[in-house]
């Protein structure tokens, strides 16, 4: 199991470094436990010129289980991103599939930011931030917005 986990992650890392998607860069990947990547706001969107940092935390069951993905540092203001960094995105939770990867998750988040029309926090942000656990995977997410 762990053979698949490390093998798969090292392959992904090589791929991200050799052939990085635009606006996405690996900044820290010393272990197979957690990586840090930067995400640039795409030009022509509300987040143009901004740079955010994403943290991926992998379990040894990856890629059968989804990684924990949160924003750290400057959190983008977005209707589906809570101010503690948690992201409300179905592919990170119940819609995860082993065929998905770090690259595809990053592209999904980038596209989620790009499609935003109004920079505002989620409506229940203050309540969620108070009650949420450290891991977003322990949250019972309700996905309702199919527009992003």
């Amino acid at each position: 199991m762990s053979a698949l986990f490390t093998k798969r992650l090292s392959k992904e890392l090589v791929d991200l470094k050799i052939n990085p998607p635009s606006g996405i860069e690996v900044t820290e990947a010393d272990t197979f436990k957690s990586w840090k990547l930067t995400l640039d706001g795409v030009d022509g969107t509300l987040y143009a010129g901004e740079r955010f940092t994403l943290e991926f935390r992998f379990s040894p069951n990856y890629p059968m289980e989804s990684p924990e993905v949160v924003f750290i540092g400057d959190i983008p203001i977005h209707p589906h991103i809570y101010s503690n960094g948690h992201i409300c995105l179905n592919v990170l939770y119940n819609q995860w599939s082993p065929v998905l990867s770090v690259r595809s998750v990053c592209l999904s988040i980038q596209s989620m930011l790009s499609s935003c029309t109004c920079k505002e926090p989620p409506p229940d942000n203050s309540h969620y931030v108070k009650t949420a656990k450290a891991s977003p995977k322990q949250t019972q997410w309700a996905f309702h917005d199919d527009s992003v």
């Binding site: 053979a3 698949l4 798969r8 392959k11 890629p63 059968m64 819609q95 599939s97 082993p98």
Partner: protein
């Protein structure tokens, strides 16, 4: 062999890559309902967490929906060229993926095998294993003393405990290995020793560890320095004595040699002196001068004798010469007279012959005949040389002489 972690020689067509592990399919299976292909392991694991196709999330009711992928897919992934997993150790093999197992089991010299020595168990490349087995620190070796088989790493320890190498001390009955034993024999506190001053007369005997106590009370101890000095002097004297002995022996040898020489000389001399003389001079050396004198007188005597002999020899020689000379003269005279007689006879014969032929002139020649005889008679008183003038007197007589007589006389004429 985990085919998921091998390296491929060429980049693989993305259609042959499993979306889950992102490496070329290993035992590819296809989901019957949606037609997506995965490695058998990958999809089995994925379905255990979620019963949907990882690609299109279509529901999969049971595992039986998985079917082996088409033969062509299986062949394509099996024939992919791969490197040997031991490439980093130096194996240069590359070949079809399906042949890799055979290569690793039979051919590859870079496979790591476990050292067969129990205490080692090190992983060694197949090619180096036999060399390693020879030099492995855990290899089994035979103890040279007790012939027991032990591993090399424990050999040193074994040597200490080896029963053959352990020797019991006869004094304190403890055991130790040979090299320590010899040392211990000297130091063993239970060893029986005599007092340090035993050579000077102390009769104490006891165990080594009691010696120091005894030394404290030994009455010889205070005299230690004196004994030391005494011993040194004794030693010096012994040395000197030894030297003298050698010198004496040398001298004795010389004397023996000289004596031998003297006896040889006297033996030799005794052959020149009669036994009586030697007996009378039996005192030794005085006899030599007597012998010398005797020799000298003998010598003188011999000299005189030789002189006498030579004198008589000369005398005899003279006499002999005179006798020979007299004899010679006599013979000469005789020859002369015979010659004259012969001449007379010839003349007579000549006369007779002439007379027979009847010639008068031959009478005149009778005179010379007698004159010839006369000097021949007188001749013996003088030298033979007086003969030729006589013959010259008879001028007629010389001519009729036979030529052979003339020949014998001619040398004499030339000398004149």
């Amino acid at each position: 062999m985990d085919l998921n972690s091998i390296a491929y020689v060429e980049s693989v067509n993305s259609n042959l890559i499993c979306c889950i592990c992102q490496t070329p399919f290993v035992e590819p299976v296809v989901i019957d309902s949606c037609g997506h292909t995965f490695c058998k392991d990958c999809i089995t694991r994925s379905l255990s967490t979620r019963s949907t196709c990882p690609v299109d999330r279509s529901h999969i009711s049971n595992v039986n929906e998985l079917k082996p992928a088409a033969k062509i897919i299986v062949n394509m992934v099996n024939e992919l060229l791969v490197y040997c997993p031991n490439k980093n150790d130096g194996c240069l093999y590359q070949g079809q993926r399906q042949l890799l197992n055979f290569h690793l089991q039979e051919e590859c010299l870079f496979t790591k095998l476990e050292c067969r020595n129990e205490e080692c168990r090190e992983m060694i490349l197949k090619k180096d294993l036999s060399k390693h087995m020879e030099s492995c620190i855990a290899r089994m070796v035979k103890c040279e003393s007790c012939k027991e088989i032990v591993s090399l790493s424990t050999l040193e320890g074994h040597k200490i405990t080896c029963p053959v190498n352990n020797i019991e001390c006869p004094y304190c009955h403890t055991t130790r290995i040979q090299p320590e034993h010899t040392l211990h024999l000297e130091e063993c506190p239970d060893k029986y020793v005599t007092c340090r001053h035993a050579e000077f007369g102390c009769v104490w005997k006891g165990r080594q560890h009691d010696l120091s106590v005894h030394i404290g009370s030994c009455s010889y101890e205070p005299l230690k320095e004196f004994f030391k000095m005494y011993k040194q002097r004794n030693y010096a004297l012994e040395q000197e004595n030894q030297q003298l002995k050698t010198k004496f022996q040398d001298l004795r040898n010389t004397v023996d040699f000289l004596e031998g020489q003297v006896s040889a000389i006297s033996d030799w001399l005794s052959t020149f002196i009669d036994p009586k003389g030697l007996v009378s001079n039996a005192e030794g050396e005085p006899s030599i001068s007597t012998i010398h004198e005797l020799l000298l007188s003998d010598n003188d005597r011999m000299k005189n004798e030789i002189e006498n002999l030579s004198a008589s020899l000369t005398d005899l020689e003279l006499r002999q010469n005179v006798a020979i000379m007299t004899e010679g003269m006599r013979m000469q005279e005789e020859i002369h007279s015979i010659k004259n007689i012969c001449h007379g006879l010839r003349m007579q014969m000549h006369y007779l012959l002439m007379e027979r032929s009847g010639g008068e002139p031959s009478v005149g020649t009778a005179g010379p005949k007698s004159s010839v005889i006369r000097p021949g008679l007188i001749g013996p008183m003088g030298l033979g040389r007086t003969v030729p003038p006589n013959t010259n007197d008879s001028s007629s007589a010389s001519n009729p002489r036979p030529p052979r007589l003339m020949g014998s006389e001619s040398p004499r004429k030339e000398k004149l």
